[in-house]
């Protein structure tokens, strides 16, 4: 099976994770102080979701978990090792599972859709696919010399 090169996968993961940090940070800032993110096409979906009991987990806004997850995934894109491949996959997998759970809550429990949450769920799904491809394609392969610097340059 032909996989994209690991350098390409790492660049793609870094790019999508950076977008994710942007989205999650916007949601966190918008919701701080009792506000809610602006829904692009109007409607009150974001306000309903932000005000729901599910917007916090153990007293912490779920978007903060998002920021932490995306930052850690971004970090794994800069490293070339099996630990980074597995760690990145585990984080994206957890984020993907959490996104499925949150999307379920939006549709069936809160009965409102927030576009920003959908955007984050889509980004996390892409990250899951990319990091799974990276793990399956390159697990156990040795780090090529200077690979860490390649991405940074």
């Amino acid at each position: 099976m032909n996989f994209p090169s690991e350098a390409f996968l790492r660049r793609a993961i870094a790019f999508v994770a950076a977008l994710g940090i942007g989205v999650a940070t916007y949601i966190t800032i918008a919701e701080s102080g009792g506000g809610s993110p602006a829904c692009v096409a109007g409607g009150h979906g974001c306000a309903t979701v932000a005000e729901s009991e599910y917007s916090e987990l153990a007293g912490i806004n779920v978007s903060i978990f998002g920021i932490v997850g995306y930052v850690l995934i971004l970090a794994t894109a800069f490293l070339v090792s099996d630990a980074a491949r597995l760690g990145g996959f585990a984080l994206a997998l957890g984020g993907f599972g959490f996104s499925i759970y949150l999307t379920y809550l939006e549709i069936w429990e809160i009965e409102a859709i927030c576009q920003w949450c959908v955007a984050s769920a889509v980004l996390m799904t892409i990250l899951f696919v990319l990091s799974a491809t990276r793990l399956i394609g390159y697990a156990g392969s040795d780090a090529p010399p200077g690979a860490t610097e390649q991405l940074q340059n």
Binding site: R85, F89, Y101, L105, I136, A139, G140
Partner: protein, 255 residues
């Protein structure tokens, strides 16, 4: 090739094979860990969804919620049986509802609270709740329990609290335990009297009368709102309502 060179070549080959085997082993192990993690996440997500869907189903006698909210919404409003507001208010808004009906729940949560603090608090209108039993036979004990709570001045607290804790239609949640839990949370003081009342012939007759009145008017569904006032010709049909607007307009026109 000398013996020494031959030995070195074999050693190199052996090392390459060992490295390859080692790499394969590590790869296999990593993929196994990944697969295990994926399985774990699937389990956690499924459990999370089951817990979330189970927690909010309503109809749970052990966790009646929103009693304080209902108390606050109705505070300061007079109650006589299932009539809420000033008995001398010029306009009467009548709701024919079934306590098991989810659309009635929506009306109760969305459409009525603005009226409580508006037309009803201002003495312009009173609201009568009448039972129209359309969902299942479980609606009947629920209706009787509401009327019995009304005998102790907590009828509307019971109705509103029942709606906020409503379970799935005809799922068997309307048990004595559930009704008692709602009555207690609604502030019914004398539970023994309430128990006696709700099973009495008088209350059973009252339930039947409300239902028959709805049938005689020709109503087909719940919630159906009707209005009576100085400017109406008896009880006039408004229809179903999930927001306060149409009800406020009808009260205004009737008064």
């Amino acid at each position: 090739m000398s013996g020494k060179q031959e030995r070195e070549r074999r050693r190199q080959e052996r090392m390459q094979t060992e490295t390859k085997v080692g790499t394969e082993d590590r790869r296999k192990k990593l993929l196994q860990i990944g697969a295990g993690a994926a399985f774990l996440v699937v389990v956690v997500v499924v459990v999370g969804i089951v817990v979330a869907s189970g927690g909010d189903d309503g109809g749970d006698a052990s966790s009646i919620k929103d009693a304080a909210l209902v108390d606050q919404e109705l505070s300061g409003l007079e109650q006589d049986g299932l009539v809420l507001g000033d008995p001398n208010a010029p306009v009467e808004l009548v709701e024919f509802g079934d306590l098991q009906c989810p659309v009635c729940k929506a009306a109760s949560e969305e459409a009525l609270p603005p009226l409580f603090e508006g037309a009803v608090a201002e003495g312009k209108a009173k609201i009568s709740f009448r039972n129209f039993l359309i969902i299942s036979e479980e609606s009947e004990p629920a209706a009787a329990a509401a009327i019995a709570a009304g005998n102790q001045g907590r009828g509307w607290n019971f109705v509103e609290l029942f709606y906020r804790n409503q379970g799935a239609e005809a799922s068997g949640y309307v048990t004595d335990d559930f009704l008692t839990a709602v009555a207690k949370a609604a502030g019914v003081k004398d539970i023994a009297k309430w128990n006696q009342d709700r099973k009495s012939a008088k209350v059973t007759k009252e339930v039947k009368e409300g239902h028959e009145e709805a049938l005689s008017i020709g109503l087909e569904g719940t919630p159906t709102f009707m209005v009576k006032g100085p400017n109406t010709n008896g009880l006039e049909l408004i229809g179903s309502a999930t927001s306060a607007g149409p009800l406020e307009d009808a009260i205004e026109a009737a008064g």
